[in-house]
């Protein structure tokens, strides 16, 4: 068993978008986007961090925080 080291490590997730807005996340429809914010950090280093966070409500009523890595365009889920 590999040892987890970080309980908040981001996990890659599949997100279907329409016009940049998430419509389905891991096969579940997105009911609403409750909040969104941008995090820019470590811009002074060689590995700057730019993330567009969204707090969404899925069809089953589950709340989820996801973000899109602005540099790569990939989506991640984060607790």
């Amino acid at each position: 068993m590999s040892r987890p080291t970080n309980p908040y490590a981001p996990r890659a997730i599949t997100v279907a978008t329409v016009g940049g807005r998430p419509r389905r996340i891991a096969g579940r429809a997105v009911e609403a986007v409750r909040d969104q914010w941008l995090v820019e950090d470590r811009w002074w280093t060689a590995a700057p961090l730019r993330r567009h966070y969204l707090e969404v409500v899925l069809a089953g009523g589950r709340c989820l925080v996801v973000y899109r890595d602005v540099a790569t365009g990939r989506w991640y889920e984060q607790r």
């Binding site: 068993m1 040892r3 987890p4 080291t5 970080n6 309980p7 908040y8 490590a9 981001p10 995090v39 950090d41 470590r42 280093t45 961090l49 984060q78 607790r79």
Partner: protein, 428 residues
Amino acid sequence: MTIGCILIPRFALLAAVGGRREMLAGPVALAPEPGREQAVGEASGAAEAFGIRPGMPVSEALGRCPQLALRPPDPGRTASGWERILRRLESIGAAVESNRAGEAFFAVDGLSGIWGPRREDVLARAGRAVGTPARIAGAPTRFCARAAATMARSRGRGRAAPIRVVAAGGEREFLAPLPVDLLDCALRDRMAPPGRDDPAAGRLVAALERLGVRTLGDLAGLPRIAIADRFGALGLRAHDLARGLDTPLRPRTPHEDLVQAIGLPEAACGPQLERALDLLIERLLGDPRRQGRAIRALSVEARLAGGGSWSATAVLRSASASPERLRLAVAPKLGKLAAPATALALRAVDTTAAAGSQPTLDGNPRDRRRERLTEAVRQVRVAAGRDAVLRVLDVDPGSRVPERWATLAPYNGPGDSDEPGHDRRGGR
């Protein structure tokens, strides 16, 4: 009995310059450690040619040699590099004593049956084990062996200089023509606690030279009572060394290198550093190589953002495996850190035998609960692996990036604490 000496002069300076050995061709010396006395450390040969000596005030050193380059010391790299060399020596069966980086002593006779009948064979084998150029010699006493090694040529990397072994009974004759400043290092090590120099040793050598006592033979020829009257216990110790008398070796006990390190993505100080320390303590206590042993002394090492490193040692009044007590001993040391750190390491310098648990006849419910919890953790680990039980440790709860909020550390269980019922700090 023959004592072997492995001597690597200016080991701390070599560690500080890293791969840039060409720097040693010019005048270079170790800068003072942050927060310590403003005196230079080890100096290169070119710097010594200007009269610069370890322990000399920085102002005086720069006055003697304005072009002197001061390198920040790197005690972490020095300690780890020297520890590797000591382990290589121990790997050939040598019981090693070492009071400072760059100097190691071991009894040769016990190794003759393994590495050859001649003492020179054993010393040559030790030189190969060290794996780096070193001066090697043997003699009946520690001080005499060091003096012989000081005069020897460096061996290693294709250089095979002859090894000198001073015969038993010939130590006084061997030492007689040598200068008294050889006493400096020996007295500093013997009269001061580990890691700290005793300036009285330097003063004694300077006083002897002013009085015209220039060689060890001159010193050995002086009446003992006169030495005691003028220089006290330190003088008597120097007199013994000059006459070829020395204390027996006190080799260290070979032990597992219990060390945990963490890289800090951004230079950290203050609370972030303390949280990193908490994590290192948890990891150290959760290290299976510890095998239940309690920790008596800890060394905390930090790599500084501005270059160089810093280290401090904390000795506990009684050995403990309690994270709270270890933290109480080490955390105040971090306050003396003079610059932000980019990496932090925690090393168990001294450990004791496994701590036994004494069951009580009238155990209270809290103790019984702790015992059940400890047993439950143990059973879960047996069934699902060591990493099946972890605890969440806060790292930087105020960070905008969630993965920096916390990390997972080994859960050592309430049985590891010697303070029953005490809640773990920072646990969730």
